[in-house]
């Protein structure tokens, strides 16, 4: 579904992402892990056209998307994303926030409302729908990020650390939610720090280290990979 070919992003000499290639298959959950500063969010931003690639190409459903200039074009192409640091529209209600997402696929307010209700229901935010987004708890803000992105009706969803900052109970709640989204037919590419949930969720995992691809494979393959243990897990000991 998505194919990245030798993508590079250099910031004034710093190689944030260097020569990384990978593919995402339709219907899978691909995990992206790596120590801080490995370039995970940079890869998301490259896919989402937040900044141009230094070199390399990204294809989505066979079409080149790395030449798109604006993040909105990428969303229109069918890729939704959430932000690591959540960005709610604080002065709007939860419903209105999600409606903004839904307007990606409709011009009608009533249709957008309907779609937003569905997306909020999916993530369990319905009871908060009339609350101002700025008054939400951390965990609800994360849900709002997901609901908004879902409402744009993406084929591929990029989830950037939606579990960070949540307590264990909340993490337990969000895992089935992500699985449900995938079962509804949306492919998922996710960054997460919590290894246990990553292992439980991902079909495959991509390991990044210093901007380069270190390993790729099933959770079992990755955790038994010596380079990964040394560079990533080893670093924590």
């Amino acid at each position: 579904m998505l194919e990245a070919k030798k993508i590079c992003k250099h910031f004034e000499g710093l190689k944030a992402v260097n020569d990384v290639s990978f593919t995402i298959e339709k219907g899978e959950i691909l995990g992206l892990i790596g120590p801080n500063g490995a370039g995970k969010t940079t890869i998301f931003n490259m896919i989402a056209a937040v900044f141009p690639l230094t070199s390399g190409e990204i294809y989505f459903n066979g079409k080149l998307i790395s030449n798109l200039k604006k993040p909105s074009d990428v969303c229109k192409a069918g890729i939704g994303r959430t932000f690591q640091v959540v960005k709610p529209f604080g002065g709007m209600t939860v419903l209105e926030n999600v409606m903004v997402g839904a307007f990606n696929v409709t011009n009608s307010v009533s249709e957008a409302t309907e779609k937003a209700m569905k997306a909020m229901d999916q993530v369990g935010l319905l009871r908060r729908k009339d609350m101002l987004a700025k008054n939400l708890t951390v965990s609800d803000r994360k849900r709002l990020e997901v609901a908004r992105a879902l409402a744009t009706e993406p084929q591929l969803l990029l989830l950037d650390e939606v579990m960070a900052g949540l307590n264990p109970t909340e993490v337990e709640e969000i895992i089935p939610l992500i699985r449900k989204i995938r079962d509804d037919g949306i492919t998922i590419f996710m960054i997460e720090h919590i290894m246990a949930s990553m292992m439980a969720l991902s079909d495959r995992i991509l390991v990044l280290h210093h901007g380069e691809k270190l390993a790729e494979g099933t959770p079992a393959e990755v955790t038994s990979n010596e380079k990964v243990i040394e560079a990533y897990l080893g670093g924590k000991h």
Partner: protein, 335 residues
């Protein structure tokens, strides 16, 4: 169930707003029949005109959160286009008004486009500078504009020439102008466009990620805003039948449009009207009563009001009333 209550409450909100507009329109329409005093009429015309211009500013400055401090540029373009087309080519000011509005919209778009690709204060600075540029050009292009001397519109009253003896026709035209802006604002509020403007005001990155081409929607907003401001300028020409750089390209007007919207409540449809009802008569009063002795006093007071409002009532009077209402509701609920 929740879905149902939601739509009902939304319908209610729309309904009460619609009723409010209707009542306002009826009052506006019958007022001259019962209270036909030239001075009051003049004040009311100005209230409507400033409410319309502030409402036009509000579309880009309030809903989209892109503060323009040079809206007088579009006002002046409307004013000069109308005046010059009539004086040079005898084109009816009604047509001149539309053409002036279109010119203002196009120019607004051209000036804003480079700014809207960027984030930061560029738009505010660009509008401020552009208004000053137009003022200087209008002084400089003497053969066309009469320079400092200004343009006097050839007097030949009649509907076709948008010139009337009494104040009443101007009153109704100003009223219609204000309602036009109000209705456009309400349409924006209730449509995808309005949701998008609010979203891009709140967070640029999130808006883009949700598929909003932010530059494009800002461009639409400034074009609509510029067009409506141009209409206001054209009306001003016909009201006074005389324009000069000092009156239609002055930074005072830019500040006034913005201030009226902010004091009333930026990003709301009725805010600019409320703001104009308060600020415009106050302005006339201060200028009239103290005029010669204390030149500038009105703007000293307005500057102070502006600082106080944004510091203590950042959502203007409309926001203040909403908060009050919420508090009262909350209290009655807890009882």
């Amino acid at each position: 169930m929740t879905n149902l209550t939601n739509t009902i409450s939304k319908k209610n909100k729309h309904f009460s707003m619609n009723v409010f507009i209707l009542v306002l329109a009826i009052i506006g329409a019958v007022l001259p029949l019962i209270w036909d005093n030239p001075y009051t009429m003049q004040i009311l015309i100005l209230i409507f005109l400033y409410a319309a211009a502030a409402g036009a500013w509000n579309i880009i400055g309030g809903y989209a959160g892109q503060v323009s401090l040079g809206h007088v540029a579009f006002f002046g373009l409307g004013a000069y286009t109308t005046a010059l087309l009539y004086n040079f080519f005898g084109i009816s000011p009604w047509i001149g008004m539309i053409l002036g509005g279109i010119l203002a919209a196009v120019v607004a778009g051209l000036i804003s486009y480079p700014c809207f690709r960027l984030r930061g204060p560029f738009f505010t600075l660009a509008t401020l500078a552009f208004a000053e540029v137009l003022r200087l050009l209008s002084i400089w292009a003497r053969p066309l504009t009469g320079g400092q001397v200004g343009v006097t519109i050839l007097f030949n009253p009649g509907f076709k020439n948008f010139q009337f003896f009494g104040k009443t026709p101007y009153y109704y035209i100003a009223l219609i102008l204000m309602f036009l802006v109000l209705i456009v604002s309400i349409w924006i509020e209730r449509s995808k466009f309005g949701y998008y403007l609010t979203a891009l005001k709140e967070d640029h990155d999130a808006s883009e990620a949700l598929g909003i081409n932010t530059a494009k929607y800002k461009l639409y907003a400034i074009a609509i805003s510029g067009f409506l401001t141009g209409l206001c300028g054209a009306f001003y020409t016909q009201l006074l039948l005389f324009i000069e750089p000092l009156s239609v390209f002055t930074s005072h007007l830019s500040n006034q449009f913005a201030m009226i919207a902010v004091v009333g409540g930026a990003g709301t449809a009725v805010g600019p009207i409320l703001g104009s009802v308060i600020i415009t008569p106050l302005n006339e009063l201060l200028r009239g009563a103290l005029g010669g002795d204390f030149q500038g006093l009105n703007f000293v007071i307005f500057g102070a009001i502006l600082i106080l409002v944004v510091t203590f009532m950042p959502n203007g009077l409309v926001g203040f009333f909403k908060d009050m209402k919420a508090k009262i509701n909350h209290r009655s609920e807890s009882k």
